[in-house]
């Protein structure tokens, strides 16, 4: 029996509402100690990434969010049987527990800011040229001209980066006031000034939205994209090399899981 895994929740209780997952199968919780893995049974591998399947995956996680703290699991994570799932839960238990505690009562919001990069660059170039004329020295040789062009390009880019930093620091100052964690990416492309995700306490989401509205209205000519609340996809932290299941001691580990499962009554669903 293959199990499609949607999320890890901070409860060993059953999912109260009737939720149906991929292939219309019932979604249920497989408890492990005081947490659980929410799954549905699946018969055949999903054929690639389809819009319907992706949205369904996300929809189920959002439904779980209504009642639990959820660690969303990557799309198309299919575990080969219940014993393997419990083995995985054993391996990751501490990490899952730590993440669930850290992310309890918190939501993720995404913010993308597109700025008029062309106009900003044009302005920088014009200012540079204007100032440069005052100290203009005729350069006759092609080498000098080449070096000069290189230097100009460097100065323009430097100024462009400075301006980006300035805008981002102002925006982030407002957003950070109501966030507990954040991840910012500056200038993924020249136009995409900021691609950020913020982790916000549930009780502060209105403040966070207000801060966004304030920033939005203060930056005419910029385009803003606000999304959320999301499950905290971007704030799940798992050690990179936590790959115990590839360990040669898998058999020992499996024995431990069986013992543990008996102790906690994990097989009673």
């Amino acid at each position: 029996m293959k199990l499609y895994l949607y999320g890890i929740i901070d409860s060993s209780d059953q999912v109260k509402d009737s939720i149906y997952g991929l292939e219309g199968a019932s979604v249920y919780n497989i408890p492990f100690c005081d947490i659980g893995a929410v799954v549905s049974e699946i018969n055949q591998p999903i054929q690639g990434v389809t819009e319907g399947a992706v949205l369904e995956h996300e929809d189920i996680i959002e439904k779980l969010m209504e009642n639990f703290t959820v660690l969303p699991v990557r799309f198309q994570t299919i575990i080969d049987g219940r014993d393997n799932l419990l083995s995985m839960m054993q391996s990751y238990y501490k990490d899952f527990r730590d993440n669930l505690e850290r992310l309890h009562n918190k939501l993720e919001f995404g913010i993308k800011v597109i700025w008029p990069a062309d106009k900003i660059k044009e302005h920088i170039i014009n200012t540079y040229k204007k100032n440069d004329k005052k100290v203009s020295v005729p350069s006759n040789s092609s080498n000098k001209r080449f070096m000069r062009k290189k230097f100009e390009k460097y100065k323009i880019n430097e100024e462009f980066q400075k301006k980006a930093n300035k805008y981002i620091s102002v925006m982030d100052l407002f957003f950070s006031k109501f966030a507990v964690e954040k991840k910012l990416k500056k200038l993924k492309t020249e136009d995409l000034l900021l691609d950020a995700v913020y982790l916000v306490e549930k009780g502060k989401q209105d403040n966070f939205r207000d801060a966004f509205e304030h920033i939005k209205s203060a930056h005419k000519g910029f385009k803003f994209l606000f999304s959320g609340p999301w499950p905290a996809y971007n704030f799940v932290i798992l050690p990179k090399n936590n790959d115990l299941l590839k360990d040669s001691n898998q058999e020992d580990l499996f024995d431990k899981v069986i013992q543990h499962r008996d102790l906690v009554g994990a097989d009673k669903i």
Partner: protein, 71 residues
């Protein structure tokens, strides 16, 4: 109007894809059955997600659900 709605759906989908295909709990190991082509498709989407042209298409489109855009 139909076109605008489509764009709005595209944005929502892009935001979802950006998360569900790459973020959250990523479990490695033999217990996970790998599904062919997902990684390849994902690479394509990543390029798409980074594309400013895609974002530029959003001009003036109304955003449904949790999404909103401002000029």
């Amino acid at each position: 109007m139909h076109n605008m709605v489509t764009k709005s759906r595209d944005v929502t989908l892009l935001e979802v894809l950006d998360r569900v295909l790459d973020k959250g709990v990523i479990i490695s190991g033999d217990v996970v059955i790998s599904v062919a082509d997902v990684d390849l498709i994902y690479l394509g989407l990543k390029v798409l997600l980074s594309s400013v042209e895609t974002m530029e298409q959003l001009k003036g489109s109304p955003f449904a659900g949790p999404m909103q855009e401002a000029k």
